[in-house]
Symmetry: C2
Subunit: 199 residues, 2 copies
């Protein structure tokens, strides 16, 4: 029944299985044998779809990167004051991260041992760089605190946002809904934990 089963796989469902295995075992620790077992199809059936595991990695991280770079083309990221654009990009990054959780998780765990991984790291840095530029522009407008080093603040902002891949679980009991998570990240990053005089 291998043939019948193979036919039920599309490139998308195979990709979903591969991403799960990569996240569990690490990309380096995953063999075609592991992918074959997890998907319940033969290795030759997998080769029917892709030339090897590196192609699956490229497709998976591309999905995450397309989601992230897509944000920068949206109107909220391209018009208005820089500080509003930073807020918009922060909120949308959290939303994309939650919507594409396994793909972004994989992207954030990429190490750089293969050409595809190095390419993914390069693109990630490019995304971070684009946001850092926006943050600098907002600081230059006087809308962000002048007493924070922009580069350091950018790293901490991404550190907070990216930490979601470690603890956010959409199905968890008592889990937070996406809008609440996105709101909390934006409020905390921009206005901090402390009760302000206006609250």
């Amino acid at each position: 029944m291998t043939t019948a089963k193979r036919d039920t796989y599309t490139p998308e469902t195979l990709l979903a299985v591969a991403v799960q295995v990569f996240n569990e075992r690490g990309y380096d620790g995953t063999s075609m044998e592991h992918l074959s077992k997890a998907a319940g199809i033969s290795k030759s059936s997998i080769y029917h779809h892709v030339v090897g595991k590196e192609e699956l990695l490229r497709r998976a991280v591309s999905r995450a990167l397309d989601g992230l770079f897509g944000i920068l083309e949206e109107e909220g990221a391209t018009r208005g004051r820089a500080v509003s654009r930073v807020e918009y990009v922060t909120r949308r990054t959290v939303e994309v991260l939650m919507a594409e959780l396994p793909y972004v998780t994989l992207l954030l765990r990429v190490r750089g041992n293969t050409r595809t991984e190095r390419w993914a790291l390069e693109r990630r840095r490019e995304f971070d760089h684009r946001v850092a530029e926006l943050i600098r522009a907002a600081a230059a407008d006087g809308d962000l605190r002048a007493d924070l080093d922009t580069r350091l603040a950018t790293r901490l902002l991404f550190g907070m946002v990216n930490s979601l891949v470690e603890w956010y679980r959409p199905q968890a009991a008592g889990g937070h809904d996406r809008a609440q998570v996105a709101d909390t990240v934006v409020r905390m990053a921009f206005d901090g934990l402390r009760a302000g005089p206006g609250l």
Copy 2:
């Protein structure tokens, strides 16, 4: 010259080498063979010091945990208003993380496959729980914003703090000094990125 070389190793220097290898290869992916090569001593010399790699893991994560739990005993964490105690613990956590970077990095990457790893995860959760309690107390005092879910805010605070293991490199060119990093984390977490009316 194996004997001579072994004698130059103390439990501490062996531990430092082991932690580096664990962080590079992952604990699961590290064999006694890898440790022996990295240390430049025979496996039997390593067994002279420890019963196996799990003992090295336990010692390493204990060092990180002792540093973190030590903070909670300090005067700044036990006296004064809850909000000041949360600030103090945040600052000191960043400082301990930077001072014990490889050990805390290992602690934060523990997966839970062995008894030692599960114990380490349990202790980490206990630390997070203690800080979450302090944050709840500060919120109850009215010193932290009432519009943030405490549990979510605690996770985001730790997400920001713990992200340091991913990017903070003490020797990096253009690196930030420790006091600056600790200050920036505290200001950003408590007062946010946005320029306030008083600034």
